[in-house]
């Protein structure tokens, strides 16, 4: 029997008294040990990576503790933890591989921790099984208990009975995924992939409303993190939510009335506009070390100056956006939008509003897929770059369409068509990045100021070199486009698109 410890069961704390007084067949419980209570702060990423991997990270008395509830490892950590990379070396840092490097740790809440061990004893006074209990109590009185049966070799029946007993007691408890919610009043679950309920026959307008209604709260949940500048993922997710909203409006055109569509498009575009600069600068700063690797050492001082400027620009862009997000006008606007899509009554319906979601999605996906094939067919080595950009934009639209309407199809079917599309998009995306980078770097050159300043010359040299490198990259990616499309355009993928999205209609 391999001794991988199963996850502790989440129990209501009321179960403890019951456990202490209930015999387990011929075994009776006895309190073996009880620790003193300590106050600890629970840390996780905003999107709960640690809890999702069934671990808890706590910080108390200058130490970080990481474990699946009861067994834990510990290390010194004098300061409240932020990014894993910045933690002192130690086993907990090593164990935090589940935390994405871009995500900062945040305090989820504080609770008192107390451990209790029960022994289950037979008529000879021999322990046949133990039960580890960890009691977590919040100031508000909210509490829960983690129960971990501990097997003793050779006493298989006792442990089986204990496990069954615990299982029974925990049957109605909310369990691990809801641990923070149970313990910390007002705690809100966050996911970057909000679930949107839709059925194949759902009228298209209801589906579009539901997509938007699910993504506005996602935007809102990220606001505080953007303002507090906790990590760059808040803005990234905020923009993802916003982009989903914008694309569902423009892709499912005809769902709303003409004027309504135009109004919504411009309103959400206006919300997106002030985020672009900050995101671009975030990306630069995050990839700083990549740039250093590209350039010879004598151009590094210029690079350092350039990034110093970027940091300044970023601080300004952040301040601007934070102010905007905190303004009463923005708050009122978001409240209005939230209400508008939750109720849906005030939205003016368009000619396609009643179309069944599945059929509508199929026809749109098929249309965009055909368009991609058509553009791609005309691309050779010598076609102007504009055509490649047009292809990229169509691919992006198709990807959004498929992602938005994914709940209407079988998961595995959707995966099969999204995967090859993703690969094509990688090439096109990189090609585009190189183009955009060159434009941005040229624009940055324009802002440098007087050439008399020594550091401006250094920056200009570095930027010049980078533009040349980006141009090389662009050419290399451009050369891959034809082959990438050929790979996407396999007979298998063609058939998949045909059967999934055009089964009863025109032949391909």
């Amino acid at each position: 029997m391999p001794q991988t410890k199963p996850l502790p069961t989440v129990l209501p704390t009321a179960a403890i008294e019951q456990l202490k007084s209930t015999h387990l067949g011929k075994l009776y419980p006895r309190t073996l040990a009880q620790s003193e209570a300590v106050d600890a702060v629970f840390f996780d990423t905003f999107d709960g990576h640690i809890l999702q991997s069934h671990h808890l990270l706590t910080w108390h008395r200058g130490h970080l503790h990481l474990g699946t509830g009861l067994q834990e490892m510990a290390q010194v950590c004098p300061q409240s933890p932020g990014f894993v990379a910045d933690l002192p070396q130690g086993p907990v840092k090593q164990g935090l591989g589940m935390v994405p490097p871009l995500r900062s740790l945040m305090a989820m809440g504080a609770a008192e921790i107390q451990d209790l061990t029960l022994a289950y004893i037979d008529d000879e006074g021999k322990t046949q099984a133990r039960l580890g209990l960890r009691i977590l109590t919040h100031d508000s009185g909210a509490s829960l208990c983690l129960a971990q049966p501990i097997a003793l070799r050779g006493y298989t029946k006792a442990i089986a009975e204990l496990r069954a007993h615990i299982h029974e007691l925990g049957a109605n408890s909310p369990g691990w995924p809801h641990l923070y919610e149970t313990l910390f009043p007002g705690w809100q679950n966050y996911t970057a992939k909000p679930q949107v309920d839709m059925a194949p026959t759902t009228p298209a307008i209801e589906m579009v409303n539901a997509v938007i209604a699910a993504h506005i709260p996602m935007m809102r949940q990220n606001e505080a993190g953007i303002i507090a500048d906790i990590d760059t993922e808040f803005l990234h997710d905020y923009r993802i939510a916003l982009r989903k909203i914008r694309s569902v409006i423009s892709l499912f055109s005809g769902v709303y009335g003409h004027q309504q569509t135009a109004d919504l498009k411009s309103e959400f575009s206006a919300l997106m506009a002030p985020t672009g600069k900050l995101r671009d600068l975030d990306v630069y700063l995050l990839t700083r070390s990549d740039y250093a690797k590209l350039l010879p050492p004598d151009l590094h001082p210029g690079l350092a100056h350039m990034f110093a400027r970027f940091s300044e620009h970023r601080a300004a862009a952040h301040a601007e956006l934070a102010q905007q997000l905190q303004s009463p006008a923005y708050g009122a606007q978001m409240k209005r939008l939230e209400k508008l899509f939750k109720k849906g009554k005030k939205l003016v319906a368009g000619p396609r509003s009643g179309a069944p979601a599945h059929d509508f999605a199929c026809s749109l996906i098929w249309k965009h897929y055909r368009k991609i094939c058509k553009i791609a067919a005309g691309i050779t080595e010598t076609t102007p770059d504009e055509q490649v950009h047009a292809l990229r934009i169509q691919c992006k639209k198709l990807r959004y369409l498929m992602e938005i309407s994914a709940p209407l199809f079988r998961k595995s079917d959707m995966k099969d068509v999204i995967r090859p599309l993703k690969q094509l998009q990688d090439t096109l995306g990189q090609f585009n990045d190189y183009c955009v980078q060159q434009d941005n770097l040229r624009a940055f050159l324009g802002t440098l100021g007087p050439a008399e300043r020594k550091e401006n010359i250094a920056i200009a040299q570095t930027v010049g070199a980078l533009i040349a490198l980006m141009h090389q990259g662009q050419i290399a990616q451009r050369a891959k486009v034809e082959a990438s499309f050929a790979a996407f355009n396999s007979t298998k993928t063609q058939n998949s698109f045909q059967t999934l999205f055009n089964s009863q209609k025109e032949p391909a």
């Binding site: 029997m1 391999p2 001794q3 022994a119 037979d122 000879e124 006074g125 021999k126 322990t127 003793l152 070799r153 050779g154 006493y155």
Partner: protein, 249 residues
């Protein structure tokens, strides 16, 4: 892995008391320890409150690796497991051979559950003459309690002779004085004589006659757990340390 046998060809000298307390002391210092209760009466199992296993009395038991590993019981103490009493000598022979052979299925089975032992302690019953030679060969050390009386002196002498005449390594013998009563002049004299006669074969550590050890049957726990500060507990600790030293551990 070391195999240590608590052995004496004389009954009631403290073999079981030694095995129980040594096993506990070994486990306490972090060694994964298996205490094999070879006594059909199950004395050491009794001290650890482990009920004798019915399965173990079945013939050919030790040929079945899975059933063997299944009848091991965890004690209430970390790192210490008990193999309860009741095995036939023939089975025990096979068991010893397999514990010694690192490629045996038994060893592989123990390793597979990360439960191979650092030390295996044997609590031998008196009168295992049919088997004793095999125990002497398999064990890395034979711990022999000696009550300092003339009769015990004779028994220890016989044991030494047996080792010499059977070409067994005499260095494996680790005698020690058991149930020592300081007030008895006879004990003092015998000990002096024996130390002179047997020199290095006798350990320095000795176990006093102590009520804490007598009462182990009431507490049903090792002395180091029930009376950790007692002189008896300290004596077992000293015995444990000296033995490890002599075994080169």
């Amino acid at each position: 892995m070391k195999i240590i046998a608590c052995y004496s060809n004389k009954g009631g000298v403290g073999k079981t008391a030694t095995a129980v307390n040594l096993a506990h002391a070994l486990a306490k210092t972090g060694r994964r320890t298996l205490l094999c209760d070879l006594d059909p009466q199950g004395a050491s199992s009794f001290y650890f409150r482990v009920k004798p296993s019915k399965k173990l009395s079945e013939a050919a038991f030790f040929k079945d690796v899975e059933r063997f590993t299944k009848s091991i019981r965890a004690s209430d103490y970390e790192q210490l497991d008990i193999l309860p009493a009741n095995m036939s000598f023939r089975d025990f022979d096979i068991f010893l051979a397999r514990m010694r052979n690192s490629r045996s299925r038994l060893k592989k089975a123990l390793r597979a559950v990360k439960n191979d032992y650092d030390t295996v302690l044997l609590d031998c019953p008196p009168n295992i003459s049919t088997l004793s030679e095999n125990v002497f060969r398999a064990a890395d050390g034979i711990v022999v309690p000696v009550i300092p009386t003339t009769l015990s002196q004779r028994t220890f002498e016989q044991l030494q002779d047996f080792f010499t005449s059977n070409d067994l390594q005499i260095k494996k013998l680790h005698g020690f004085f058991s149930m020592v009563q300081g007030v008895k002049a006879l004990h003092g004299d015998t000990m002096k004589d024996m130390r002179k006669a047997y020199g290095k074969r006798l350990m320095q550590a000795q176990i006093p006659f102590a009520s804490e050890i007598e009462r182990m049957g009431v507490h049903r726990a090792p002395v180091l757990a029930s009376a950790p500060k007692s002189a008896a507990a300290k004596a077992y600790q000293a015995l444990h340390a000296e033995l490890l030293d002599r075994l080169g551990q």
